[in-house]
């Protein structure tokens, strides 16, 4: 449905946003797991929760910007591959976008439903209001849904990274290289 021909590579904006998004998602998954399962003392845990919430809201804004950029600029043509591989890659990429948004919104819902209402201060700069219709009795369900979305992201990010490595090491095409170096 695109009228523009696919560009030869990703823009600098797309490359930076992809790298930043990946790093933040990696940090969020690591923090999220650690603050719930590592059994650190409560002070560290509290700080990690606040950082996790701050990073989540920044990533939500970045992802929205990234999707807006993606809508304005079409993706480069995928490297030649069997149709099922291209379809799988597209599905994983789409699901990563969707789940990123969903996981963060669910996280926002968890914070809103929390029976211990800790204000969400994004890096101490401003306070994010609670979502409407949030109730403490929905807290456990919200947390489970947020966790499920996070694990799904971890699995899909693994599949996505394996795909990129396969392109680089097996097919020896420029799929990974052009995601790291923007087109000139």
């Amino acid at each position: 449905m695109r009228t523009l021909p696919p560009p030869p590579g990703w823009s600098a904006f797309a490359v930076v946003m992809h790298g930043l998004g990946a790093a933040m998602m990696f940090a969020l998954l690591g923090l999220g797991w650690t603050m719930v399962h590592a059994g650190l003392d409560m002070a560290r845990t509290f700080d990690m929760f606040q950082l996790h919430k701050s990073l989540g809201f920044v990533l939500l804004a970045l992802t929205a910007l990234r999707l807006a950029g993606r809508a304005r600029q079409p993706a480069p043509r995928p490297a030649p591959a069997p149709a099922w591989e291209t379809a799988l890659a597209r599905f994983v990429q789409g699901a990563l976008y969707g789940l990123t948004g969903l996981a963060i919104l669910l996280g926002w819902w968890v914070a809103s439903c929390s029976p211990l209402p800790v204000p969400t201060r994004v890096f101490g700069v401003f306070t994010v209001p609670n979502l409407p219709a949030a109730r403490p009795d929905l807290f456990a369900a919200a947390r489970l849904a947020h966790e499920a979305a996070a694990y799904a992201i971890a699995v899909l990010a693994g599949v996505h990274a394996c795909g990129a490595l396969k392109h680089a090491l097996w097919n020896r095409d420029d799929t990974l290289r052009r995601m790291v170096w923007p087109r000139s």
Binding site: M42, R44, T45, F46, D47, P115, L116, G124
Partner: protein
Amino acid sequence: MSKSLYPAPGRRLAALAFAAAATMACPAQSVSRWSIDPARTQIAFEIDAVGYPRTHGEFRKFDGRIAIDFEHPDRSRVAFRVDSSSVDVGSAAFNDYLRSVAFLNDEKFPEVNFVSTSVEKLDETRVRVTGDLTLLGVTKPLTVEVVVRREGEGGRQRLVFGAETHIDRLEFGMNSGYPIVSRDVDLKISTTALDR
């Protein structure tokens, strides 16, 4: 380095009276006044939460007065004043949250107070202190068993007190997070008093 002046079997609070009185060189007065040593005082608390680690915290600013009548232990008095804003759980953001209206509400209630109403000697090393605890403007009775130990030889005399108790925070209207955050708050107070 603590060492009792008295061998264990003969150690009595009454005996302390003579030593304290002699130290102060005013044997006529049976009530001795002690000031707490902030460097050797810890007002700590612990609280559980379901699915979260136990929270350990302390109050850093406080003062206290202790008056001991070794001949009539029941006439002894103790009063503690704790600065709510001095709560410290090891995280600045968490401290701010605990100071907020959700918990200590330090702007409206800057102090937590304990004033004894009666002191009962249980044995040579233990006393039961009953008093009123005021938290969030609500005053409730609190009974604490206190272990007393004497320290210091030659120089200034010291009395070391240790007490553990717990309060039900719901009684004081501190409801935030219940039942995820438990209603019981353990208190651990240790202090050293120096004779004045």
